[in-house]
Amino acid sequence: MDLELSDEQTWLGESVETLLAREWRPAAGAPYGDEAQRDRLWRALVDFGALTVGGDEGLGAIELCLIARALGTHLAPVPYLASAALRYAVEELAEGDDAFALALLEPGSGWASATPRTTIDPTAAGDVLNGRKVGLEHATAIDRLAVSASGPDGAALAIVHARAPGVALTAQPAFDATVPMGAVELAAVEVVGGPFTGEALDRLATIGALLAAAEAVGAAGRLLDDACRYAGERRQFGRTIGSFQALRHLMADMYVRQASSWSSVLYAAATLDEDAAEAGRTASIAKAYVSRAAREVAHGAMQVFGGIAVTAEHPAHRFLRRIVVREQQFGDAAHHERALGRALAADAVPEPVV
């Protein structure tokens, strides 16, 4: 066993932090930035190699999680999660620097649907997609869509161009303004990649859950840091509020939640990189834990900030919003707890107790 990050991994984490601190400085009151700013940030990430995934030289799940955590720390509005997760899960998509959106959710269905209503239909000119998808991130800024659909061999992932004939994108209300959401109508849209089945879909669900969790850990870490700093400055009753034990213990608990969340994400990422059989289960554990823990950290931070954190201009709610959005994706705590519980029950072999 060797349980520490390598020097290269530590360097990567620090470098992407530096990159974001330099390239992502939205003006106060405009957290989503303008299009030129967002494009420059995305370019910088691509040039940095953040999409160089897989193979001997490319990034593994641990590295992707390090990058995702930094994006959460800075609330960067980039289509990274989908673009990185797809490259990790589907080898054929690793080439190039296209930005992707994942089109997995459908109205009325959850994250583990085995029978999407969107269909892959064979025609004389090749496969086409028909259906409706929701919850696509950054849909106006991406090049291709990865769509889950029912094909002749069951559920599969099919790739289409975002601006192909038959693709109708519309904006959806977004809880987090830095993660704009869209819906898409697909009417006989030409399939240009896949369909990818089986293992690719499982791997996508696993890495997606981990990257979502890693972003939430980053956002929670930023809130923890900011809350600790504020508690060291703000004075009431003639003392800094960080000296009150009620708040010190609250922040200590926030630290434990945030630090152990990161441990859990890293462990699950290492399990996935090693292709271990329990990778899916370990990711479920991490996602279930982080989903609750990151939000707890955000709640604690808002309590430390007090009334000011309830104002729109204070950044706390933006981090909370990112945490909530990532909590909902790839299964929330309840989703994974149910799945883990079912697995425990299925594995239980009653034995006579001595």
């Binding site: 349980l3 000296s243 213990h249 608990d253 859990s264 554990i285 309840a334 149910r338 425990l344 072999v349």
Partner: protein
Amino acid sequence: MRLIASDSERALQDEIRAFLAAERLDATRLPRSLEDRMEVLRDWQARCHGAGYVGRAWPREFGGGGGPASEQIVIDQELAAAGAPEFVNVVGLDVLGPSLLRFGSDEQRRRYLPAILSAEEIWCQGFSEPEAGSDLASLRTSAVERDDHFVLRGQKTWVSWGQFARWCGVLARTDETVPTHRGISMLIVDMRSPGVELRPMTQITGHAEFCELFLDDVVVPKENLLSERGDGWKIAMHTLGHERGTAALPRQVKLRTWLDRAVRLAAERTLDGERLIDDPQVQVGLARALIGIEVLRHHAYRTVGEFLNGGAVGPDSSSVKLLMAEAEQRLAATALEVLGATLQHAEPAESAENEFWYETYLYSRAATVYGGTQQIQRNIIADRVLRLPKE
């Protein structure tokens, strides 16, 4: 990061499994009487030491294996996974032994360490006092220097295994003139000395595994001072951090075996014709207990990883301790809720399991108290990790 066991680690695992298969010690069938149990457990630790499984990373010259710390972790986890009993000289192995290794003279290390490993000499610790619990630095037991010895006077409490111990690591005040924690020294006390008196205390589980210790003008030779006068606090803090950090890995394995036991039982027991485990709420409860245990493992791996690569066990051991207590208490409370009414059925065939879960539940309440309370751990994190202001 590398989670997969290396070839040598896998070979070690195989070796331990073969050893355990040959030994066939059943931890669930230990003698009821404490004296008899003690003998079985001493013998068990001695045999494990003979096989090279105790003090794997301690230096060879002091009876250890001279191996990497990661091997001891592999060993502890394998033993816990097989349900083997914990080593009975746990205070010597996890608390005083590491203190002696780090702060003891060569003579002290040669004298005491080999017998700690073989369980020939059991150790206890005399830290807490009736008036000095969380506020350990306020302890009042005094050690007055006279000629070639100290005279020790005071009262200690929560002395685990005191009635079986040959030696006790006692924190005592040697200097009244300096701030509280600077005047404390660590003395090695021979439990056979005149003036040492023990009174076992019965715990809520019904066992009497710890004692009150009365020290009435006990003479302690000067060569039994560990490190320098006034170093006691430093030694205790080093040691407690060590204990918190490294104990978590075998502990989480043990918790996992308990969870598996609860899951098996829930699959076996029924209420009104339904298996307990088929209730979705039971499944989710068990899943949450599993998550607590697994996250403890992930976090302990990361913090211990830093330690294995040469770093000190730092204040992050407090976050491990908090997660460990939380995981244990959640598991125990979950088991109680899952088993529910079946705990009162009290059929003879069921009573042994019921007794186990009642005892596990009751003892789990100690997890947020011993080794520094939950509140003390939060103080440590607030001070030393988050560096929050004190006023």
